[in-house]
Amino acid sequence: MKYLLLPVAVAAIALFVSVLVPPAHAFWTVATTATAILAIAAMIAAASCFRANDFMRWAWSLSAVPYLTASLSIVSMAVLAPGGPSALTLALSIAGNLLAVLGAALFVLAYLRAGFGFGGLRAPAVVIYAGGFTLALLLGWPIVSASVRGLLAAAESLQPVLDLLSTASDVGCFLLALPLLRIAFALRGGHLSFTWALLAGTNLSWLIADLAYESASGNAAALVAYRVIFVAANAAGAAAALSHRGAVIAARRAIG
């Protein structure tokens, strides 16, 4: 339970600061980068719990990369190309978005590979997947269509390409959050359940943050929501890694 407190505390602090003193853009750049660095550090710590040939070492190592590319993109846009995204930002974004989906998929694959199964009836799971897929389409479609319109209108700019890529990746992560949630539910009551629950939370957040950002034009509350969700999602990624590290250490001590 203590791991769940990290994203909640980060969201509460970010919200409190936003309400108390509407912070400047630079504050959010620092906050986003700091929480991404926290996630990278936690994921490296989680990966280091495993041996070189362990599946989870690869899963955590790859999962850290999107946070690194996101931080580098922020720095690249803030320092190197303040006018708009550069080719470097685009390359980082492509790598980060692909690896974000791959990282989520590896955690689903890990459980399937273990072969423990889910038990219970298949019908509720099918209903949840169908509902989640519909929700992903409903949430993602306005952003995808806006990105495509932007792409057609401004052929010279890289921003619509970045937006489209990011949204496609966020829809992928949202869809993968459904099996992650199912796994967390299957593991309920065990140390590992928090890892998969937090990973599901992170992967659900990106698309919701995108939607908030799309509504942020002239809407200060939506902009605050976007920024708070973003830093909380980074913190949830860090908490997922720390909870897995904690579960592995607890299991290693099993024999005493």
């Binding site: 041996r51 273990a114 299957a186 309920r188 009551g189 065990g190 579960a247 607890a250």
Partner: protein
């Protein structure tokens, strides 16, 4: 997360081997998946139901479970869990 001691550290030893293994795995996998894991691997590896598992068959079940645990917990933690289960068998 509530800190829970393993049945072995509390000194409780279920008389049924399937129950004993389930109780140990439940700390990490939760009771639902622990039960599923024991049932699935009993059926797959030993072609028996968990209720028919004997103490003498436990090492074979553990050998089959260990690679699956390794995927989620890593080599070292899976090895520790496997050793704890086998130590149970020896102590009973």
């Amino acid at each position: 997360m509530t800190t829970r001691e393993s049945p072995s550290t509390r000194g409780e030893r279920p008389s049924d081997p399937a129950e004993a293994i389930t109780a140990l795995l439940a700390l990490h996998l939760g009771p639902h998946t622990a039960r599923n894991a024991v049932r699935t691997f009993c059926e797959r590896t030993l072609a028996i139901s968990p209720g028919s598992l004997t103490w003498s068959s436990v090492p074979r079940l553990v050998a089959a479970l260990e690679p699956a645990l390794r995927t989620l917990l890593g080599t070292d933690a899976a090895g520790s869990l496997a050793r704890e289960i086998l130590a149970w068998v020896e102590r009973r």
